[in-house]
């Protein structure tokens, strides 16, 4: 059935309703607040977006295969804590490993990403080989990682980082914060993986129809493990970035970020039913979400009411996504 222009416009407005409403809200906030449309605020938003984007890009891979990763928040906390313990100053009174010299920042980052990736591999194994639904496998991993984080840190907040580490959040290259550069590099690598590699094509095939993909010779199990491993490595990186920005970390770091990331992906156009989604979807989703939060702060909305607003946005975005899926069927 050929759609009329009116129907096309109506569909566009419904499918992109959340983004349009956010856009209007941002314009309204900009017009009513003096400091909203300023360079500093834009940089601040982009810096806040950077770690969220890394998380969303990790989760996007899982969501494209019709999965999810609820362990992301705990992995971020764990990653931040590992980085924190490896990068504390020698003269810091509460140093976690008193006799250990702080490691090179990049070595610490590598350790964090490898450890998180190992946990992601286990999650992927449960999903691919034991057929455990992603949400149950990742819930289980969430608890395991939470428990291990508590044991590792003894539930103690960490601080006293070396300057090389905190400089990652404060330093700039070409006037742009290092964190933003990291997010740009991760987005570029993810774009390459999604669009230019066989792994990316397998990922979309699995999301579209796992049975058909298997029949077509796609190594479904291996691909799923790789997706969850890659995602977990990204959570580790995000934890590292958040730790640098906050100048400290605790097991509570990243609490609830997985929900925001899934919501951001859905708002941007990564389908929760699988098979659809691009890097640009995650970028749009994270930007919309971050702008919403900042706009609500500028408008002086109560912190608890902000949670309600964000919850409504998530609900509407997922409802619209399911509507798109039903319409497609």
């Amino acid at each position: 059935m050929v759609k009329t222009n009116q129907q096309k416009i109506k569909d566009f407005l419904i499918n992109n309703g959340v983004i349009i409403v956010m856009f209007i809200l941002v314009i309204y906030t900009g017009l009513t607040s003096n400091n909203f449309f300023t360079g500093n605020n834009l940089m601040n938003i982009l810096t806040n977006m950077s770690s969220r984007l890394v998380i969303a890009l990790g989760i996007a891979g899982c969501v494209i295969t019709a999965g999810c990763d609820l362990s992301a928040g705990r992995m971020i906390g764990f990653g931040g804590c590992i980085a924190g313990t490896l990068l504390q100053r020698m003269d810091y009174s509460g140093k976690f490993f008193p006799d250990m010299e702080p490691l090179n920042v990049f070595v610490a980052l590598l350790i964090v990403m490898v450890i998180c990736a190992a946990f992601g591999t286990i999650t992927g194994f449960f999903i691919a080989y034991l057929s455990v639904p992603p949400f149950i496998a990742t819930l289980a991993m969430m608890e395991i990682v939470y428990g291990i984080s508590l044991i590792y840190t003894n539930a103690t907040p960490l601080g006293g980082y070396v300057q090389e580490y905190t400089n990652i959040a404060n330093g700039k290259f070409l006037g742009i914060n290092y964190l933003i550069w990291i997010a740009i590099i991760v987005a570029a690598i993810t774009w390459f993986i999604f669009n230019m590699t066989r792994h990316g094509k397998y990922m979309y095939a699995i999301g579209g129809n796992p049975q058909a993909a298997e029949v077509a010779g796609v190594p479904v199990k291996k691909t799923l493990i790789l997706i969850y491993m890659k995602a977990a490595a990204m959570y580790g990186l995000a934890g590292f970035m958040l730790g640098a920005r906050a100048g400290g970390a605790s097991v509570q770091l990243g609490y609830g970020y997985e929900m925001e990331a899934i919501a951001a992906c859905t708002i941007g156009g990564v389908s929760v039913t699988g098979g659809r989604g691009r890097v640009s979807s995650a970028i749009i989703g994270v930007a919309v979400f971050e702008l919403l939060k900042v706009a609500l702060q500028y408008l002086g909305v109560d912190a608890n009411a902000q949670y309600i607003a964000i919850g409504i946005v998530i609900f509407v975005a997922i409802s619209l996504d399911i509507r798109k899926y039903i319409a497609k069927k």
Partner: protein, 103 residues
């Protein structure tokens, strides 16, 4: 211990317990397998048996989560060991259940 301290330590396992019980009951009692399989997955061999077994496994894991929460206040190592063992058991049982009643 204040309520805030309690929630800080036990909030996550407690939340997971509620979520798992909800899905467990949806499967076990309401036989709603779309709760965990989604709507675009192929049908299972025996829907009623699959729903019952999956629901029971979810409730098992919910109880494991609750036990972890209790153990967190006693010994962290015991809590982590308990949840790791229960996760492995869940994985093995789920795999068997899927082979028997699933795809």
């Amino acid at each position: 211990m204040s309520a805030e301290q309690f929630l800080e330590l036990a909030g996550i396992p407690l939340l997971l317990f509620v979520i798992l019980m909800y899905y467990g009951m949806r499967l076990w009692i309401m036989k709603d397998i779309t709760a965990i399989r989604g709507k675009n997955k192929p049908p299972v061999k025996d829907e009623a048996a699959y729903a019952k077994a999956a629901g029971q496994l979810m409730v098992f894991f919910a109880v494991a989560t609750l036990l972890m929460m209790v153990l967190l206040f006693w010994n962290l190592y015991a809590a982590v060991a308990e949840i790791v063992v229960c996760t492995v058991i869940l994985g093995i049982l789920w795999s068997r259940m899927n082979k028997k009643y699933g795809e």
